[in-house]
Protein backbone atom coordinates (compact mmCIF):
# COMPACT_ATOMS: atom_id res chain seq x y z
CA UNK A 1 0.00 0.00 0.00
CA UNK A 2 2.87 2.35 0.82
CA UNK A 3 4.32 1.70 -2.63
CA UNK A 4 1.06 2.70 -4.31
CA UNK A 5 0.86 5.88 -2.27
CA UNK A 6 4.45 6.78 -2.97
CA UNK A 7 4.05 6.15 -6.66
CA UNK A 8 0.77 8.05 -6.72
CA UNK A 9 2.40 11.08 -5.17
CA UNK A 10 5.32 10.97 -7.54
CA UNK A 11 3.23 10.59 -10.67
CA UNK A 12 0.48 13.01 -9.78
CA UNK A 13 2.72 15.73 -8.46
CA UNK A 14 5.32 15.38 -11.12
CA UNK A 15 7.95 14.68 -8.52
CA UNK A 16 9.31 11.90 -10.66
CA UNK A 17 10.38 14.47 -13.23
CA UNK A 18 12.18 16.47 -10.59
CA UNK A 19 14.44 14.20 -8.60
CA UNK A 20 13.09 10.68 -8.04
CA UNK A 21 14.78 8.34 -5.64
CA UNK A 22 16.57 6.23 -8.17
CA UNK A 23 16.87 3.32 -5.79
CA UNK A 24 13.15 2.59 -5.57
CA UNK A 25 11.08 0.54 -8.01
CA UNK A 26 8.39 3.20 -7.89
CA UNK A 27 10.74 5.95 -8.95
CA UNK A 28 12.01 3.75 -11.73
CA UNK A 29 8.49 3.16 -12.98
CA UNK A 30 7.61 6.84 -12.69
CA UNK A 31 10.61 7.71 -14.81
CA UNK A 32 9.69 5.06 -17.36
CA UNK A 33 6.17 6.47 -17.60
CA UNK A 34 7.62 9.96 -18.11
CA UNK A 35 9.95 8.55 -20.75
CA UNK A 36 7.02 6.82 -22.44
CA UNK A 37 5.19 10.14 -22.61
CA UNK A 38 8.28 11.81 -24.06
CA UNK A 39 8.44 9.13 -26.72
CA UNK A 40 4.79 9.64 -27.61
CA UNK A 41 5.27 13.42 -27.72
CA UNK A 42 8.19 13.05 -30.14
CA UNK A 43 6.80 10.14 -32.13
CA UNK A 44 6.55 10.18 -35.89
CA UNK A 45 3.05 8.74 -35.40
CA UNK A 46 1.82 11.71 -33.38
CA UNK A 47 -0.93 13.59 -35.22
CA UNK A 48 -0.08 17.27 -35.12
CA UNK A 49 -3.00 18.58 -37.16
CA UNK A 50 -4.44 21.50 -35.14
CA UNK A 51 -8.08 21.01 -36.17
CA UNK A 52 -8.17 17.36 -35.18
CA UNK A 53 -6.30 17.99 -31.92
CA UNK A 54 -8.60 20.89 -31.06
CA UNK A 55 -11.61 18.65 -31.65
CA UNK A 56 -10.45 15.88 -29.31
CA UNK A 57 -9.03 18.28 -26.75
CA UNK A 58 -12.31 20.22 -26.79
CA UNK A 59 -14.30 17.10 -25.97
CA UNK A 60 -11.92 16.22 -23.12
CA UNK A 61 -12.24 19.72 -21.67
CA UNK A 62 -16.03 19.55 -21.83
CA UNK A 63 -15.91 16.28 -19.88
CA UNK A 64 -13.56 17.32 -17.10
CA UNK A 65 -11.32 20.19 -16.03
CA UNK A 66 -8.53 19.30 -18.38
CA UNK A 67 -5.57 21.21 -17.02
CA UNK A 68 -4.12 18.04 -15.50
CA UNK A 69 -4.54 15.99 -18.68
CA UNK A 70 -2.31 16.03 -21.73
CA UNK A 71 -4.01 14.64 -24.83
CA UNK A 72 -1.96 12.87 -27.50
CA UNK A 73 -3.52 11.86 -30.79
CA UNK A 74 -1.65 8.96 -32.36
CA UNK A 75 -2.11 8.03 -36.01
CA UNK A 76 -2.80 4.33 -35.76
CA UNK A 77 -5.56 2.01 -36.94
CA UNK A 78 -7.40 -0.05 -34.35
CA UNK A 79 -9.38 1.06 -31.32
CA UNK A 80 -7.41 2.33 -28.38
CA UNK A 81 -7.78 5.05 -25.77
CA UNK A 82 -5.68 4.84 -22.64
CA UNK A 83 -4.24 7.00 -19.90
CA UNK A 84 -0.75 6.77 -18.49
CA UNK A 85 -0.81 7.16 -14.71
CA UNK A 86 0.79 10.61 -15.00
CA UNK A 87 -2.17 12.12 -16.86
CA UNK A 88 -1.14 11.55 -20.47
CA UNK A 89 -4.30 10.57 -22.36
CA UNK A 90 -3.48 8.74 -25.59
CA UNK A 91 -6.12 8.46 -28.33
CA UNK A 92 -5.59 6.47 -31.51
CA UNK A 93 -7.13 7.81 -34.71
CA UNK A 94 -8.77 4.39 -35.09
CA UNK A 95 -11.05 5.46 -32.23
CA UNK A 96 -12.14 8.53 -34.19
CA UNK A 97 -12.93 6.37 -37.21
CA UNK A 98 -15.00 3.94 -35.16
CA UNK A 99 -16.97 6.58 -33.29
CA UNK A 100 -20.06 7.29 -35.34
CA UNK A 101 -20.54 10.65 -33.69
CA UNK A 102 -19.05 13.00 -31.13
CA UNK A 103 -21.09 11.48 -28.30
CA UNK A 104 -19.61 8.01 -28.87
CA UNK A 105 -16.09 9.41 -28.84
CA UNK A 106 -16.93 11.42 -25.72
CA UNK A 107 -18.11 8.28 -23.89
CA UNK A 108 -14.90 6.43 -24.78
CA UNK A 109 -12.80 9.33 -23.53
CA UNK A 110 -14.93 9.77 -20.40
CA UNK A 111 -14.55 6.10 -19.51
CA UNK A 112 -10.77 6.28 -19.78
CA UNK A 113 -10.61 9.58 -17.89
CA UNK A 114 -12.64 7.89 -15.16
CA UNK A 115 -10.08 5.06 -14.99
CA UNK A 116 -7.37 7.69 -14.62
CA UNK A 117 -9.24 9.69 -11.98
CA UNK A 118 -10.06 6.46 -10.08
CA UNK A 119 -6.33 5.64 -10.24
CA UNK A 120 -7.14 2.36 -11.99
CA UNK A 121 -4.35 3.00 -14.48
CA UNK A 122 -1.97 3.39 -11.58
CA UNK A 123 -3.25 0.19 -10.02
CA UNK A 124 -2.77 -1.62 -13.32
CA UNK A 125 0.82 -0.43 -13.62
CA UNK A 126 1.49 -1.24 -10.00
CA UNK A 127 0.29 -4.80 -10.51
CA UNK A 128 2.79 -5.03 -13.33
CA UNK A 129 5.56 -3.65 -11.18
CA UNK A 130 6.11 -7.00 -9.53
CA UNK A 131 6.13 -8.89 -12.80
CA UNK A 132 7.74 -8.78 -16.19
CA UNK A 133 4.62 -7.04 -17.50
CA UNK A 134 5.94 -3.61 -16.80
CA UNK A 135 9.04 -4.44 -18.78
CA UNK A 136 6.89 -5.54 -21.70
CA UNK A 137 4.73 -2.45 -21.43
CA UNK A 138 7.28 0.26 -20.88
CA UNK A 139 10.59 -1.34 -21.65
CA UNK A 140 10.47 -0.50 -25.32
CA UNK A 141 9.53 3.05 -24.55
CA UNK A 142 12.24 3.34 -21.92
CA UNK A 143 14.75 2.29 -24.54
CA UNK A 144 13.73 5.32 -26.49
CA UNK A 145 11.92 3.35 -29.13
CA UNK A 146 9.44 5.51 -31.01
CA UNK A 147 5.93 5.34 -29.70
CA UNK A 148 6.91 2.15 -27.94
CA UNK A 149 4.03 0.08 -26.75
CA UNK A 150 1.40 2.22 -28.38
CA UNK A 151 2.76 1.17 -31.74
CA UNK A 152 1.35 -2.31 -31.74
CA UNK A 153 -2.34 -3.01 -31.16
CA UNK A 154 -1.60 -6.69 -30.65
CA UNK A 155 0.87 -5.98 -27.86
CA UNK A 156 -1.71 -3.97 -25.95
CA UNK A 157 -4.24 -6.74 -26.47
CA UNK A 158 -1.79 -9.37 -25.29
CA UNK A 159 -1.01 -7.33 -22.21
CA UNK A 160 -4.69 -6.61 -21.71
CA UNK A 161 -5.47 -10.29 -21.59
CA UNK A 162 -3.11 -10.56 -18.64
CA UNK A 163 -3.44 -7.14 -17.08
CA UNK A 164 -7.00 -6.03 -17.65
CA UNK A 165 -9.01 -3.75 -15.40
CA UNK A 166 -11.18 -5.62 -12.91
CA UNK A 167 -14.93 -5.93 -13.37
CA UNK A 168 -15.48 -3.60 -10.39
CA UNK A 169 -13.11 -1.02 -11.89
CA UNK A 170 -14.93 -1.23 -15.22
CA UNK A 171 -18.32 -0.68 -13.60
CA UNK A 172 -17.01 2.26 -11.60
CA UNK A 173 -15.51 3.76 -14.74
CA UNK A 174 -18.80 3.16 -16.60
CA UNK A 175 -20.68 4.99 -13.85
CA UNK A 176 -18.27 7.90 -13.60
CA UNK A 177 -17.83 8.12 -17.37
CA UNK A 178 -21.58 8.15 -17.93
CA UNK A 179 -22.01 10.93 -15.36
CA UNK A 180 -19.19 12.94 -16.94
CA UNK A 181 -20.63 12.60 -20.46
CA UNK A 182 -24.18 13.35 -19.30
CA UNK A 183 -23.03 16.47 -17.49
CA UNK A 184 -21.40 17.60 -20.74
CA UNK A 185 -24.75 17.06 -22.50
CA UNK A 186 -23.86 13.97 -24.54
CA UNK A 187 -26.44 11.32 -25.50
CA UNK A 188 -26.26 8.48 -22.92
CA UNK A 189 -27.30 5.89 -25.53
CA UNK A 190 -24.04 6.51 -27.36
CA UNK A 191 -22.19 4.68 -24.57
CA UNK A 192 -24.10 1.48 -25.30
CA UNK A 193 -23.48 1.81 -29.02
CA UNK A 194 -19.76 2.35 -28.71
CA UNK A 195 -19.16 -0.46 -26.22
CA UNK A 196 -21.29 -2.98 -28.13
CA UNK A 197 -19.21 -2.32 -31.25
CA UNK A 198 -15.79 -2.16 -29.58
CA UNK A 199 -12.92 -4.20 -31.01
CA UNK A 200 -12.12 -7.48 -29.30
CA UNK A 201 -8.57 -6.31 -28.52
CA UNK A 202 -9.87 -3.26 -26.67
CA UNK A 203 -12.28 -5.40 -24.67
CA UNK A 204 -9.40 -7.53 -23.41
CA UNK A 205 -8.18 -4.50 -21.48
CA UNK A 206 -11.74 -3.46 -20.58
CA UNK A 207 -13.53 -6.79 -20.02
CA UNK A 208 -17.09 -6.77 -21.31
CA UNK A 209 -19.99 -8.87 -20.08
CA UNK A 210 -23.76 -9.07 -20.32
CA UNK A 211 -23.94 -7.93 -16.70
CA UNK A 212 -21.87 -4.86 -17.52
CA UNK A 213 -24.13 -4.14 -20.49
CA UNK A 214 -27.22 -4.40 -18.26
CA UNK A 215 -25.66 -2.09 -15.68
CA UNK A 216 -24.75 0.40 -18.39
CA UNK A 217 -28.30 0.27 -19.76
CA UNK A 218 -29.62 1.12 -16.30
CA UNK A 219 -27.39 4.19 -16.28
CA UNK A 220 -28.40 5.42 -19.74
CA UNK A 221 -31.32 7.71 -18.91
CA UNK A 222 -32.54 10.67 -20.88
CA UNK A 223 -31.25 12.13 -24.08
CA UNK A 224 -28.47 14.40 -25.19
CA UNK A 225 -26.60 15.64 -28.20
CA UNK A 226 -24.90 13.24 -30.57
CA UNK A 227 -22.79 15.76 -32.47
CA UNK A 228 -22.98 13.51 -35.53
CA UNK A 229 -22.73 16.27 -38.11
CA UNK A 230 -19.81 17.93 -36.39
CA UNK A 231 -17.99 14.59 -36.07
CA UNK A 232 -18.47 13.88 -39.77
CA UNK A 233 -17.27 17.32 -40.76
CA UNK A 234 -14.16 17.20 -38.57
CA UNK A 235 -13.16 13.67 -39.58
CA UNK A 236 -14.01 13.91 -43.30
CA UNK A 237 -10.56 15.14 -44.43
CA UNK A 238 -8.89 12.14 -42.77
CA UNK A 239 -11.38 9.43 -43.62
CA UNK A 240 -9.64 8.15 -46.77
CA UNK A 241 -6.35 7.77 -44.90
CA UNK A 242 -7.94 6.04 -41.90
CA UNK A 243 -9.99 3.67 -44.05
CA UNK A 244 -6.84 2.80 -46.01
CA UNK A 245 -4.87 2.15 -42.82
CA UNK A 246 -7.54 -0.21 -41.52
CA UNK A 247 -7.63 -2.06 -44.85
CA UNK A 248 -3.87 -2.55 -44.78
CA UNK A 249 -3.96 -4.24 -41.38
CA UNK A 250 -3.28 -7.93 -41.42
CA UNK A 251 -6.76 -8.84 -40.21
CA UNK A 252 -10.19 -9.52 -41.65
CA UNK A 253 -11.84 -6.09 -41.57
CA UNK A 254 -15.24 -7.14 -42.93
CA UNK A 255 -16.97 -7.02 -39.53
CA UNK A 256 -15.51 -3.58 -38.79
CA UNK A 257 -16.60 -2.13 -42.12
CA UNK A 258 -20.08 -3.66 -41.93
CA UNK A 259 -20.56 -1.47 -38.87
CA UNK A 260 -18.88 1.58 -40.39
CA UNK A 261 -20.78 1.25 -43.69
CA UNK A 262 -24.04 1.60 -41.77
CA UNK A 263 -23.15 5.28 -41.41
CA UNK A 264 -23.84 5.70 -45.13
CA UNK A 265 -20.51 7.43 -45.71
CA UNK A 266 -19.21 6.63 -49.17
CA UNK A 267 -15.66 5.88 -48.03
CA UNK A 268 -16.92 3.45 -45.38
CA UNK A 269 -19.03 1.63 -47.98
CA UNK A 270 -15.94 1.53 -50.22
CA UNK A 271 -14.01 0.14 -47.26
CA UNK A 272 -16.50 -2.69 -46.92
CA UNK A 273 -16.21 -3.43 -50.63
CA UNK A 274 -12.42 -3.53 -50.33
CA UNK A 275 -12.59 -5.70 -47.21
CA UNK A 276 -14.64 -8.26 -49.14
CA UNK A 277 -12.42 -7.99 -52.24
CA UNK A 278 -9.24 -8.46 -50.24
CA UNK A 279 -10.66 -11.38 -48.24
CA UNK A 280 -11.71 -13.16 -51.42
CA UNK A 281 -13.81 -15.89 -49.79
CA UNK A 282 -16.55 -17.60 -51.83
CA UNK A 283 -19.30 -15.07 -52.47
CA UNK A 284 -17.15 -12.09 -51.47
CA UNK A 285 -16.71 -10.85 -55.06
CA UNK A 286 -20.46 -10.28 -55.41
CA UNK A 287 -20.65 -8.51 -52.08
CA UNK A 288 -17.60 -6.41 -52.91
CA UNK A 289 -19.15 -5.26 -56.18
CA UNK A 290 -22.44 -4.37 -54.51
CA UNK A 291 -20.69 -2.28 -51.84
CA UNK A 292 -18.52 -0.50 -54.37
CA UNK A 293 -21.71 0.45 -56.21
CA UNK A 294 -23.33 1.49 -52.95
CA UNK A 295 -20.32 3.73 -52.30
CA UNK A 296 -20.72 5.32 -55.71
CA UNK A 297 -24.38 5.98 -54.92
CA UNK A 298 -23.49 7.82 -51.70
CA UNK A 299 -23.56 11.63 -51.69
CA UNK A 300 -19.79 11.70 -51.09
CA UNK A 301 -19.15 9.11 -53.82
CA UNK A 302 -15.42 8.22 -53.58
CA UNK A 303 -13.42 7.67 -56.80
CA UNK A 304 -11.67 4.78 -55.04
CA UNK A 305 -14.85 2.73 -55.46
CA UNK A 306 -14.26 2.82 -59.24
CA UNK A 307 -10.74 1.52 -58.67
CA UNK A 308 -12.15 -1.20 -56.43
CA UNK A 309 -14.55 -2.26 -59.16
CA UNK A 310 -11.69 -2.24 -61.65
CA UNK A 311 -9.39 -4.38 -59.50
CA UNK A 312 -12.23 -6.78 -58.78
CA UNK A 313 -13.01 -7.16 -62.48
CA UNK A 314 -9.29 -7.56 -63.22
CA UNK A 315 -9.07 -10.39 -60.71
CA UNK A 316 -12.16 -12.01 -62.20
CA UNK A 317 -10.85 -11.73 -65.75
CA UNK A 318 -13.72 -9.44 -66.78
CA UNK A 319 -11.75 -7.15 -69.08
CA UNK A 320 -14.60 -4.94 -70.35
CA UNK A 321 -15.78 -4.22 -66.80
CA UNK A 322 -12.23 -3.57 -65.62
CA UNK A 323 -11.59 -1.21 -68.52
CA UNK A 324 -14.77 0.76 -67.88
CA UNK A 325 -14.16 1.05 -64.14
CA UNK A 326 -10.49 2.05 -64.44
CA UNK A 327 -11.34 4.62 -67.11
CA UNK A 328 -13.93 6.14 -64.80
CA UNK A 329 -11.44 6.14 -61.92
CA UNK A 330 -8.92 8.04 -64.03
CA UNK A 331 -11.58 10.62 -64.88
CA UNK A 332 -12.72 11.01 -61.28
CA UNK A 333 -9.18 10.99 -59.82
CA UNK A 334 -6.89 12.40 -62.52
CA UNK A 335 -4.01 12.92 -60.08
CA UNK A 336 -4.32 9.59 -58.30
CA UNK A 337 -1.08 8.33 -56.85
CA UNK A 338 -1.34 5.05 -58.76
CA UNK A 339 -2.37 6.59 -62.09
CA UNK A 340 0.65 5.17 -63.95
CA UNK A 341 -0.28 1.66 -62.80
CA UNK A 342 -3.93 2.14 -63.71
CA UNK A 343 -2.90 3.40 -67.14
CA UNK A 344 -0.78 0.27 -67.53
CA UNK A 345 -3.74 -1.93 -66.57
CA UNK A 346 -5.77 -0.12 -69.23
CA UNK A 347 -3.18 -0.89 -71.91
CA UNK A 348 -3.44 -4.57 -71.05
CA UNK A 349 -7.25 -4.78 -71.19
Amino acid sequence: MKRVLALTLMLLTGAARAQPDADSDEAGLAMQVAKAEDNIRNSAALVRDPALNDYVHGIVCRLTPCAALRVYLVGSPGLNVFALPNGALVVWTGALLRAQDEAQLAHLLAHEIAHYQNKDSLDLYHRMLDTSGVVALLGVAAAGAGIGFVGTPASMAALGAKYSHSDAQERDADRAGMAMAAAAGYDPAAALAVWRAADADFLKVHPWSEDRLAALQDLAHGTGKTGAENHRAVTAPYLERWVGEELRRDIDTVALFIRLAASGRGLCRYGLGEAYRKRGAPGDAVLAASWFRAALAAPDSPPLAWRGLGLLALQNGDKPAARAAFAQYRVMAPDADDKAMIDYYLTQL
Partner: protein
Protein backbone atom coordinates in the same frame (compact mmCIF):
# COMPACT_ATOMS: atom_id res chain seq x y z
CA UNK B 1 38.19 1.40 -44.00
CA UNK B 2 34.49 1.93 -43.36
CA UNK B 3 33.67 -1.25 -45.27
CA UNK B 4 36.34 -3.17 -43.42
CA UNK B 5 34.95 -2.04 -40.08
CA UNK B 6 31.45 -3.06 -41.15
CA UNK B 7 32.62 -6.52 -42.18
CA UNK B 8 34.51 -6.95 -38.93
CA UNK B 9 31.51 -5.80 -36.88
CA UNK B 10 29.09 -8.07 -38.69
CA UNK B 11 31.51 -10.95 -38.44
CA UNK B 12 31.71 -10.48 -34.71
CA UNK B 13 27.89 -10.41 -34.62
CA UNK B 14 27.85 -13.90 -36.12
CA UNK B 15 26.11 -12.87 -39.33
CA UNK B 16 27.00 -14.75 -42.47
CA UNK B 17 28.41 -12.11 -44.76
CA UNK B 18 30.13 -11.99 -48.05
CA UNK B 19 32.23 -9.31 -49.61
CA UNK B 20 31.15 -8.42 -53.14
CA UNK B 21 32.98 -7.12 -56.16
CA UNK B 22 31.34 -4.33 -58.11
CA UNK B 23 30.17 -5.50 -61.51
CA UNK B 24 29.78 -9.13 -60.48
CA UNK B 25 26.47 -10.77 -61.22
CA UNK B 26 24.95 -12.26 -58.12
CA UNK B 27 22.14 -14.80 -57.90
CA UNK B 28 19.54 -13.65 -55.37
CA UNK B 29 17.11 -16.55 -55.60
CA UNK B 30 14.29 -17.83 -57.81
CA UNK B 31 16.38 -17.38 -60.93
CA UNK B 32 16.89 -13.66 -60.33
CA UNK B 33 20.36 -12.18 -60.76
CA UNK B 34 21.51 -8.61 -60.20
CA UNK B 35 24.78 -6.78 -60.75
CA UNK B 36 26.62 -5.57 -57.65
CA UNK B 37 27.39 -1.90 -57.21
CA UNK B 38 30.55 -0.66 -55.47
CA UNK B 39 30.76 -0.89 -51.70
CA UNK B 40 28.07 -3.43 -50.93
CA UNK B 41 28.42 -6.42 -48.63
CA UNK B 42 25.93 -9.26 -48.59
CA UNK B 43 24.52 -10.42 -45.29
CA UNK B 44 22.43 -13.44 -44.46
CA UNK B 45 20.22 -12.77 -41.47
CA UNK B 46 17.43 -15.11 -40.35
CA UNK B 47 17.50 -16.92 -43.69
CA UNK B 48 17.12 -13.63 -45.56
CA UNK B 49 19.53 -11.92 -47.88
CA UNK B 50 20.44 -8.24 -47.55
CA UNK B 51 22.95 -5.99 -49.21
CA UNK B 52 24.28 -2.99 -47.34
CA UNK B 53 27.04 -0.43 -47.62
CA UNK B 54 26.97 1.09 -44.16
CA UNK B 55 25.08 -1.44 -42.04
CA UNK B 56 21.49 -2.67 -42.19
CA UNK B 57 20.17 0.17 -40.02
CA UNK B 58 21.64 2.76 -42.37
CA UNK B 59 20.97 1.32 -45.79
CA UNK B 60 19.46 -1.99 -46.61
CA UNK B 61 18.52 -3.71 -49.83
CA UNK B 62 16.42 -6.75 -49.06
CA UNK B 63 15.89 -9.56 -51.56
CA UNK B 64 12.66 -11.46 -51.01
CA UNK B 65 12.41 -13.87 -53.88
CA UNK B 66 10.44 -17.01 -54.67
CA UNK B 67 7.48 -16.14 -52.44
CA UNK B 68 4.67 -18.57 -53.05
CA UNK B 69 0.95 -18.54 -52.24
CA UNK B 70 0.39 -18.35 -48.50
CA UNK B 71 3.96 -17.35 -47.63
CA UNK B 72 5.01 -14.14 -45.85
CA UNK B 73 7.32 -11.69 -47.60
CA UNK B 74 9.92 -12.07 -44.87
CA UNK B 75 10.50 -13.29 -41.35
CA UNK B 76 10.51 -10.99 -38.35
CA UNK B 77 12.53 -12.15 -35.33
CA UNK B 78 10.20 -12.95 -32.44
CA UNK B 79 7.14 -13.44 -34.64
CA UNK B 80 5.83 -16.76 -35.86
CA UNK B 81 5.22 -17.18 -39.58
CA UNK B 82 1.50 -17.38 -38.76
CA UNK B 83 1.67 -13.87 -37.31
CA UNK B 84 2.79 -12.39 -40.63
CA UNK B 85 0.59 -11.28 -43.53
CA UNK B 86 0.94 -13.56 -46.51
CA UNK B 87 1.12 -13.32 -50.28
CA UNK B 88 -1.83 -14.50 -52.35
CA UNK B 89 -1.46 -15.28 -56.03
CA UNK B 90 -4.65 -13.35 -56.84
CA UNK B 91 -3.17 -10.12 -55.45
CA UNK B 92 -2.87 -7.18 -57.82
CA UNK B 93 0.14 -4.82 -57.68
CA UNK B 94 -2.04 -2.48 -55.58
CA UNK B 95 -2.63 -5.31 -53.11
CA UNK B 96 1.05 -6.29 -53.02
CA UNK B 97 1.90 -2.68 -52.23
CA UNK B 98 -0.51 -2.89 -49.26
CA UNK B 99 1.03 -6.23 -48.28
CA UNK B 100 4.46 -4.60 -48.10
CA UNK B 101 3.02 -1.93 -45.78
CA UNK B 102 1.39 -4.53 -43.51
CA UNK B 103 4.63 -6.55 -43.42
CA UNK B 104 6.79 -3.53 -42.57
CA UNK B 105 4.39 -2.63 -39.74
CA UNK B 106 5.13 -6.08 -38.31
CA UNK B 107 8.79 -5.00 -38.25
CA UNK B 108 7.61 -2.14 -36.00
CA UNK B 109 7.96 0.42 -38.76
CA UNK B 110 5.65 3.39 -38.25
CA UNK B 111 3.78 5.74 -40.55
CA UNK B 112 4.46 3.50 -43.51
CA UNK B 113 3.17 5.18 -46.64
CA UNK B 114 3.51 4.20 -50.28
CA UNK B 115 3.31 6.26 -53.41
CA UNK B 116 3.82 6.42 -57.13
CA UNK B 117 2.82 2.86 -57.93
CA UNK B 118 3.95 2.38 -61.49
CA UNK B 119 4.92 -0.31 -64.00
CA UNK B 120 8.64 -1.12 -64.13
CA UNK B 121 10.62 -3.70 -66.06
CA UNK B 122 11.82 -6.56 -63.90
CA UNK B 123 14.49 -7.99 -66.13
CA UNK B 124 12.59 -9.21 -69.17
CA UNK B 125 9.45 -9.67 -67.09
CA UNK B 126 6.81 -7.06 -66.36
CA UNK B 127 7.05 -5.67 -62.86
CA UNK B 128 6.02 -2.68 -60.84
CA UNK B 129 7.67 -0.19 -58.50
CA UNK B 130 6.61 2.12 -55.73
CA UNK B 131 8.13 4.55 -53.26
CA UNK B 132 8.05 4.31 -49.49
CA UNK B 133 8.20 6.73 -46.60
CA UNK B 134 8.29 5.36 -43.08
CA UNK B 135 9.83 5.78 -39.66
CA UNK B 136 11.70 3.08 -37.82
CA UNK B 137 10.83 2.00 -34.28
CA UNK B 138 12.97 4.83 -32.92
CA UNK B 139 11.07 7.39 -34.95
CA UNK B 140 13.87 7.92 -37.48
CA UNK B 141 12.35 9.05 -40.77
CA UNK B 142 13.24 6.79 -43.65
CA UNK B 143 12.58 6.47 -47.36
CA UNK B 144 12.51 3.51 -49.65
CA UNK B 145 12.01 2.09 -53.12
CA UNK B 146 10.53 -1.27 -54.00
CA UNK B 147 10.37 -3.30 -57.17
CA UNK B 148 8.44 -6.52 -57.61
CA UNK B 149 7.17 -8.98 -60.14
CA UNK B 150 4.87 -11.98 -59.94
CA UNK B 151 5.81 -14.68 -62.43
CA UNK B 152 3.74 -17.85 -62.55
CA UNK B 153 2.14 -16.86 -59.25
CA UNK B 154 5.52 -16.61 -57.51
CA UNK B 155 6.53 -13.19 -56.20
CA UNK B 156 9.98 -11.61 -56.29
CA UNK B 157 10.44 -8.40 -54.34
CA UNK B 158 13.38 -6.10 -53.67
CA UNK B 159 13.12 -3.29 -51.13
CA UNK B 160 15.72 -0.60 -50.51
CA UNK B 161 15.35 1.52 -47.36
CA UNK B 162 17.59 4.12 -45.74
CA UNK B 163 17.22 7.09 -43.40
CA UNK B 164 15.83 10.08 -45.28
CA UNK B 165 18.51 12.54 -46.29
CA UNK B 166 22.15 11.59 -46.69
CA UNK B 167 21.93 7.79 -46.63
CA UNK B 168 18.89 7.59 -48.89
CA UNK B 169 20.19 10.19 -51.32
CA UNK B 170 23.52 8.38 -51.49
CA UNK B 171 22.09 4.89 -51.74
CA UNK B 172 19.03 5.29 -53.95
CA UNK B 173 20.93 5.76 -57.24
CA UNK B 174 22.90 2.57 -56.58
CA UNK B 175 19.69 0.74 -55.69
CA UNK B 176 18.10 1.95 -58.93
CA UNK B 177 21.10 0.66 -60.88
CA UNK B 178 20.75 -2.70 -59.18
CA UNK B 179 17.02 -2.74 -60.00
CA UNK B 180 17.88 -1.97 -63.63
CA UNK B 181 20.36 -4.83 -63.72
CA UNK B 182 17.78 -7.47 -62.78
CA UNK B 183 17.80 -10.51 -64.99
CA UNK B 184 15.29 -13.32 -64.71
CA UNK B 185 15.96 -16.90 -65.74
Amino acid sequence: MRRGSLLLFLGLMGCALQSMEAGDDASVGNGVTVRAEPGFAQIHLAAMRYWTRNGTGLDELGFYTGIKEGQPLFRVPGLRIGDMPVYRARMTPNDIQDLVVASLVKKKMQNVRTGALRPCPFGTAQGFCFDLTLANDEGLEMRGRAIASARSSVLDLLIFTAPAGYYFDQGAPAAEKIFSSIQTH
